[in-house]
């Protein structure tokens, strides 16, 4: 089965629609969104409605901390994120909030675990930023492959049969074998607000039959997305960071 994995869309319609168009050309069987549909970006309603439509069509969607906050739950956040969430809350109607609030915190399918942040305590929203920080996720599940988001920088880590967790260097756009002798964790990177210096939407393509993962980047209209943020009166830094991918 070929699964397209998208995460941290953050209300960026331009990026979300560009990735969906790209995904359509890759012949996938399943779509998985790992949370943070809203927050930061200028189009929370469209992103929320699109995610809801995709879920009706069979896609999987996990709840992220921004979704939780937008639906009304108290979440500790940076002032930037808080400003965007307060604005987002006013834009979403009850139905959209109910959709976000009703999303699961994690989902296991076959030997793949989908979760927004670290798998050991999904609701604690711990960041998986290194191999050391990936270790608790491996300890928490028996899944062969853990797919997560939350951190807007892609990462691939493996856990060998001795239990040693190591980050693995990889290249974008190339299929990386997920060796059956190890367990794997991938932070797929952000669709709507990448922070690794590449101003393109990040997502991943997982092939469970071939046991491969491909980290992909899709170029999108960054200027358009930045303008939507400015038009909404959100902090300028949220607009400019899209242009540099930082």
């Amino acid at each position: 089965m070929r699964i397209a994995v998208l995460t941290d869309i953050h209300g960026n319609r331009e990026a979300f629609s560009a990735v969906l168009a790209d995904v359509a050309g890759h012949g996938v069987d399943r779509l998985a969104m790992l949370g943070d549909i809203v927050g930061y970006g200028g189009d929370p309603e469209w992103c929320c409605d699109t995610a809801a439509r995709l879920v009706r069509e069979g896609a999987l969607c996990i709840r992220g901390n921004h979704d939780n906050a937008a639906a009304g739950a108290p979440e500790a956040m940076s002032s930037l994120a808080r400003a965007a969430i307060d604005w987002t809350k006013d834009r979403l109607d009850a139905g959209q909030k109910a959709f976000l609030a009703g999303l699961p915190l994690s989902h296991e399918e076959g030997d793949v675990l989908f979760v927004h942040a670290s798998a050991n305590d999904p609701g604690a929203w711990s960041y998986v930023t290194s191999d050391t920080r990936a270790a608790p996720s491996f300890r928490a599940t028996k899944a062969r492959l853990i797919l997560c988001g939350h951190v807007h920088v892609p990462l691939l880590a493996s856990c060998d049969i001795g239990g040693v967790v190591r980050a693995q260097a990889f290249r974008t756009g190339l299929a990386i074998p997920l060796l059956p002798s190890r367990r794997w964790l991938a932070v797929v990177g952000s669709v709507g607000q990448p922070r690794d210096g590449v101003a393109q939407a990040a997502w991943a393509l997982v092939d469970t039959v071939k046991a491969e993962i491909t980290f992909r980047r899709t170029p999108y209209d960054t200027a358009g997305a930045a303008n939507r943020i400015r038009a909404a009166g959100l902090p300028e830094v949220l607009a400019t960071r899209l242009l540099t991918g930082t």
Binding site: D160, I161, G162, Q168, F170
Partner: protein, 463 residues
């Protein structure tokens, strides 16, 4: 691991037959499978009780790399299993067997050395083309097919340029086979395809002289010596070795990778064009360097921690491209020939390291006896070569980067394509004449080359 391999064991449809070999890290078994009607062998890593890191990771590397390889120079993979039951990998059995026996007969007749060298270098070039550096080339890892192609086996230490390197952080000691390991590999670099060329050089040395260039060191200290000590020149051991072959061997064995052969294709080209190998001091050397010279090198090398590795394998492979300029020397082709030459010169601005091979095809009859001389009794082949060399003179490159060859064959397009394939050419530049009725019906040479050559082809026209 729950299962131990034994004759009669069944796993995933494979039935183990006789044990063929017991090595340090693995056992090899004959296997059969109802769905695969070909001779196969199964390699089962010998995992010591407890956590046997090096063997496990080496096996993982093989499982990752081998299924991604194709072509005649690698064994076909038919199945593999993980650590849950019994780790194994099943590949086709290469009927010709290991190359070690041939090696044990060294020194071999020179014609055999040259012919075997070419086949070994071709196999390595093909592996590099597939983004893999072997990093453990030794005689027992070369098998031969009945059809003659060398097959490279044992990828436990290999590096795939585009995939994660599982071995990189795992071990802090250099890995490889001591008599053949390259200096930069000793310094723990795992990113340089030129390390394989060094190992090839060491094996060619052994094939030609019957001795390893640095003996058979058993300690890392013994390996380290090659950073400053030069080997005894092959011609000092066996005087009938031609100078050009010594040049090739010693150039592959240069300590600094930047001054070695840069690609296997470049080395293959030299082996295929012995008369055009540029002879340097290396070719004439009959003694090892003097004490003082070695001492000077020791002072520099004992402090060295690494050599510059290439940015990527693709970048390294593209470094010294071989470009063929196919030219028509007939009077009506004169303007076109000049245009091709200008295109070559422009190409050299973009690819300053390129090697240019100028070729012209002497068309021979499909059936019957060809005239080797013209009506005045002049040798046609020689006359063409003279004309080609004079055309090539204006390209203004030193001899070792410019070769001229007159190809013969009934089908000029095919002759150019065959030459490009054998010599691992990166690009062909050739002219195309205007449109004419004959060509519309008979097809043009350039169209044929464009359609059938494996490399890039640039067609030059004059308007």
């Amino acid at each position: 691991m729950q299962l131990r391999p034994h004759t009669g064991l069944q796993i995933d449809g494979f039935t183990l037959g006789e044990k063929l070999h017991t090595g340090g890290f693995a056992t090899i078994w004959e296997v059969t499978h109802p769905d695969h009607d070909l001779p196969m062998v199964m390699k089962v890593p010998t995992i010591l009780d407890g956590y046997d890191g090096p063997t496990i990771v080496g096996f993982e590397v093989e499982q990752m790399i081998m299924p991604r390889l194709s072509g005649p120079h690698v064994p076909r993979v038919l199945g593999s299993g993980g650590f849950e039951a019994m780790p194994y990998i099943v590949v086709e059995k290469i009927d010709g067997g290991s190359f070690l026996q041939v090696f044990q007969k060294a020194p071999l007749p020179l014609s055999d050395v040259i012919e075997i060298a070419a086949r070994m270098v071709h196999a390595v070039a093909d592996l590099h083309r597939q983004h893999v550096i072997h990093l453990d080339l030794k005689p027992e890892n070369f098998l031969q097919r009945k059809t003659g192609e060398m097959v490279l086996v044992d990828y436990g230490l290999s590096r795939h340029d585009l995939l994660p390197d599982l071995l990189a952080e795992e071990f802090k000691i250099p890995m490889g086979t001591f008599p053949y390991i390259a200096p930069e590999q000793y310094l723990r670099c795992r990113d340089d395809p030129r390390s394989d060329l060094f190992a090839l050089g060491a094996m060619l040395y052994a094939l030609a002289t019957g001795k390893n260039p640095w003996g058979t060191p058993e300690t890392l200290r013994g390996v380290r010596k090659r950073l400053w000590r030069d080997p005894v020149p092959p011609r000092a051991i066996r005087p009938e070795i031609p100078e050009w072959l010594q040049e090739i061997i010693l150039r592959a064995l240069v300590v600094d990778p930047m001054r070695r052969y840069q690609t296997a294709a470049q080395m293959a080209f030299d082996l295929g064009h012995p008369q055009q190998v540029k002879l340097t001091e290396r070719a004439h050397k009959l003694k090892q360097d003097g004490r003082l010279q070695v001492f000077d090198r020791w002072r520099v090398m004992r402090k060295i921690r690494r050599f510059e590795a290439p940015k990527s394998m693709a970048a390294q492979m593209a470094m010294v491209p071989v470009i063929v300029a196919a030219v028509d020397l007939s009077p009506e082709g004169e303007r076109l020939a000049e245009a091709v030459r200008n295109a070559v010169k422009r190409m050299l601005i973009i690819e300053p390291e390129a090697r240019i091979a100028c070729v012209n095809v002497l068309k021979t009859a499909r059936i019957g006896i060809d005239q080797a001389t013209d009506d005045q009794g002049n040798n046609l082949h020689v006359a063409r070569l003279v004309a080609l060399k004079s055309w090539a003179e204006a390209i203004d490159l030193p001899d070792h980067r410019l070769t001229c060859a007159v190809l013969e064959g009934p089908d000029p397009g095919q002759a150019i394509i065959d030459y490009a394939t054998t010599n691992k050419v990166d690009q062909i530049l050739m002219g195309a004449r205007g449109h004419s009725t004959t060509r519309r019906y008979l097809g043009s040479v350039s169209a044929q080359v464009v359609a059938e050559a494996h490399c890039s082809v640039t067609v030059i026209r004059v308007q």
